[in-house]
């Protein structure tokens, strides 16, 4: 009878046993790493920026280069705000791309770990072919001390410019950009009338708020000593800076919400017509040019104002790096060399928000003076200060910046109402604890 009902002998037990064996086999066979043949595909992680045209141009150029040179190529655009997380995961799981766009902080950190190849030959070759590197870029991206050679090929610099509403300021009698931070307050006062706030400077715990470090430095304040070891935040110069800040705050010049803005807070405040001044790398200008040409025409760009000790306007170089473990070193180098060609860079500068890194790039059409943002960025590339200067740019500095110690000190003063000494004491202690780790 049984045989007749179940001619193949598939009892319940046999079905379950087969299923269990199958699942177990599948599960266990999945764990050993399969011996996948080394892929010859070149993967490039590009830094996703505010300009869609720039992102598309980079992707298309890399893909076209791959097609022309018989190299299978894949481009993945990574949001620059997520680069650290993505690269961290990729380094840990050994899934780094062959080459990528990377900011200076991460370049330095990973170069110390030997993640990137040294590319001195390529750096020299590109420099020689394009009139040499700008001095600031050259010194800022030198990783020789930590990696035994250069690991990044710079492709652009950015940094904060002062963006102002000339349509509001000129009728108030201010045709020229403010030269000092004190003058900035005076001009901001003149146009500070709801819904427009004079100062759209972030005071929250975001990267934009680190412009306060530059203000502090221009007042003579320092984060640490010349050795980059002993934190020196608590000083009379810092007190003078905090006096400037508190005065501007008490006058109601800062935009409402500036103490809790996210990274786009100042952009939104300016683009919605609620701020007369902001410090921005140019992304707001790009957005205004595209979506609100009237606002763009009513805006002007200038370098950051100076303090009693001079102007502090640091450049932030962006670089391309090659992963040391990549089997496609030569292809990656050839690609990066190709991406330094003037035809591509001219088109890229026109739609991106970067200043030049190579002296020959000064003569590109992009920097002929017709685009006020690019004029500002050219000035930044030529005259901008080195990252962290007059402080020492090191890992502790980067850690302190990422912890927003100075913006938090500002928040203690304007949000919590702490006196200057207490706020400086906390920043000093917190800063020293960070520096002591290195």
């Amino acid at each position: 009878m049984t045989e007749a009902r179940n001619p193949h002998g598939w009892t319940r037990r046999r079905v379950l046993a087969t299923a269990a064996s199958g699942v177990a086999l599948a599960a266990t066979s999945g764990f050993p790493m399969p011996a996948i043949a080394q892929s010859k595909k070149l993967t490039y992680w590009g830094g996703l920026i505010f300009s869609e045209e720039a992102n598309a141009l980079l992707t298309d150029t890399i893909m076209a280069w791959g097609a022309a040179n018989g190299v299978e190529t894949e481009v993945v655009m990574i949001n620059q705000n997520e680069t650290v997380q993505k690269v961290s995961a990729a380094v840990s799981s050994n899934t780094m791309p062959d080459a990528l766009d990377v900011g200076l902080d991460l370049l330095l950190l990973l170069s110390r770990q030997g993640v990137f190849s040294t590319v001195d030959d390529l750096y020299k070759k590109i420099g020689d072919a394009h009139g040499g590197w700008f001095e600031g870029t050259d010194s800022a991206t030198d990783t020789s001390a930590v990696a035994g050679g250069r690991t990044g090929i710079p492709f652009g610099v950015n940094g904060n410019l002062l963006l102002r509403r000339k349509d509001l300021l000129e009728p108030a009698g201010f045709a020229e950009a403010p030269k000092t931070w004190e003058e900035l307050v005076t001009q901001a006062m003149a146009v500070n009338k709801s819904p427009v706030s004079g100062l759209g400077l972030a005071l929250s715990s975001v990267g934009d708020a680190n412009v306060q470090v530059n203000v502090l430095q221009s007042y003579g304040g320092r984060i640490a000593d010349d050795a980059g070891k002993m934190v020196t935040i608590k000083s009379e110069a810092t007190r003078t800076y905090l006096t400037w800040l508190k005065d501007a705050w008490d006058k109601g010049l800062f935009s409402p919400g500036s103490t809790s803005w996210d990274g786009a807070g100042d952009n939104q405040a300016y683009l919605s017509g609620q701020a007369a001044f902001i410090a921005n790398p140019g992304s707001v200008g790009i957005a205004a040019k595209k979506d609100d040409p009237e606002l763009f025409e009513a805006s002007a760009f200038s370098p950051l104002p100076a303090g009693p000790m001079g102007q502090v306007s640091p450049i932030t170089p962006q670089t391309r790096a090659i992963t040391a473990a990549s089997p496609m070193q030569d292809e990656a180098k050839a690609l990066i060399e190709h991406l330094a060609q003037p035809e591509f860079m001219n088109a890229y500068f026109n739609v991106a928000i970067y200043g030049p890194v190579l002296k020959a790039q000064e003569k590109l059409q992009a920097f002929d003076g017709s685009n006020s943002i690019l004029v500002g960025l050219l000035g930044l590339a030529q005259n901008g200060t080195a990252p962290a200067a007059p402080d020492v740019y090191n890992a502790a500095w980067a850690d302190l910046s990422s912890n927003f110690v100075i913006p938090k000190m500002c928040q203690r003063v304007v949000v919590d109402g702490w006196d200057f000494d207490r706020a400086m004491d906390e920043a000093q202690t917190q800063g020293q604890a960070i520096y002591d780790k290195y």
Binding site: V23, A27, L106, T259, V415
Partner: protein, 303 residues
């Protein structure tokens, strides 16, 4: 009396028993592997990492309790403890009040209660990202919904920077968090209310109990186990919650709304993975106790 010798177990039966056990192990093996791979390993690895100075790109060296000592020495860490406790306690109390009140209301035979019930679930059904960004827009100092209402109705002249000042930031985060989370309480308590035997209420009425006495002596004891489990689960979720704080204030202004998950995220941003892991591990004992309580209570209820 002669004792008959124990019947020897045949080797065939032994083999069958062994095969049955092996078969059982094989059946659960995939799940065990998944749990080990996806839960146990990352969990134990995170604990290990918290005792190292691991940064991005480096495996790190064992540093003992250095990360924990460093964190304990920062003011932000203590703010995170205080804020996390505040958000959990205040949110739970408000969610309980709102959830219980609405559940009692909807439990009545009211017209359109099915529609009302579905409507109340909307905040929970909405993606957290959308919900909290919407709240952020509502809180905007200029053009935000709340400020518009306050100024248009003449309740308050001038702008309130809800998220930008210490006095209102935490309350604003809690309000948004309660709005998003109360439907879970509502639906849990409503289900519990429906399981309280009607006969108990009828008997209480016969005994002359008034509405309050019936609620206090019949309804509340009947739904108390559900309230306790809901409280524990909600506390765990709120303490672990990231998006409500991150999207609204990112822990600011100053550290007025800093909580543990956001603090851990900041640790990741500075590329110091060991410290970020230590922040998470600091939360473990409290969350572990809550998890054990919640699990044992739920298992007891099932029994």
């Amino acid at each position: 009396m002669a004792v008959s010798p124990a019947r020897p177990i045949s080797s065939r039966r032994l083999r069958a028993g062994w095969r049955t056990r092996l078969f059982a192990y094989l059946l659960v093996a995939p799940v065990v592997l998944l749990i080990v791979g996806l839960v146990a390993y990352p969990f134990l690895f995170a604990i290990w990492v918290s005792f190292t100075d691991m940064v991005v790109g480096s495996v790190g060296q064992f540093v003992g309790f250095k990360n924990f000592q460093y964190l304990a020495g920062t003011a932000t860490f203590w703010s995170a403890i205080w804020n996390t406790v505040t958000i959990v306690l205040v949110s739970d109390v408000l969610k309980l009040g709102l959830g219980l009140g609405l559940a009692l209301l909807v439990h009545q035979h009211l017209p359109g209660r099915g529609l009302f019930r579905s409507f109340l679930m909307l905040p929970w059904a909405m993606p957290a990202f959308v919900a909290f960004l919407t709240w952020r827009v509502l809180y905007q100092p200029i053009g935000g919904g709340f400020n518009l209402i306050l100024t248009q109705t003449g309740i308050h002249n001038g702008i309130i920077d809800f998220l930008g000042q210490r006095s209102t930031a935490m309350a604003s985060v809690i309000a948004a968090s309660v709005w998003r989370g109360f439907p879970f309480w509502f639906v849990s308590i409503l289900a519990a209310l429906q399981s309280v035997p009607r006969e108990l209420h009828e008997a209480a009425i016969v005994d002359g109990a008034n509405t309050w006495q019936r609620f206090w002596n019949v309804t509340l004891p009947g739904i108390m186990p559900v309230i306790i489990v809901t409280t524990l689960l909600s506390s765990i979720w709120t303490a672990n919650g990231f998006e409500h704080v991150w999207l609204l204030t990112a822990g600011g202004p100053s550290d007025a709304t800093m909580v543990f998950p956001v603090l851990a995220y900041y640790g990741m941003q500075t590329q110091r993975i060991g410290e970020a892991a230590a922040v998470s591990v600091y939360m473990l004992p409290v969350l572990g106790i809550l998890v054990i309580f919640a699990t044992s209570l739920m298992m007891r209820r099932e029994e």
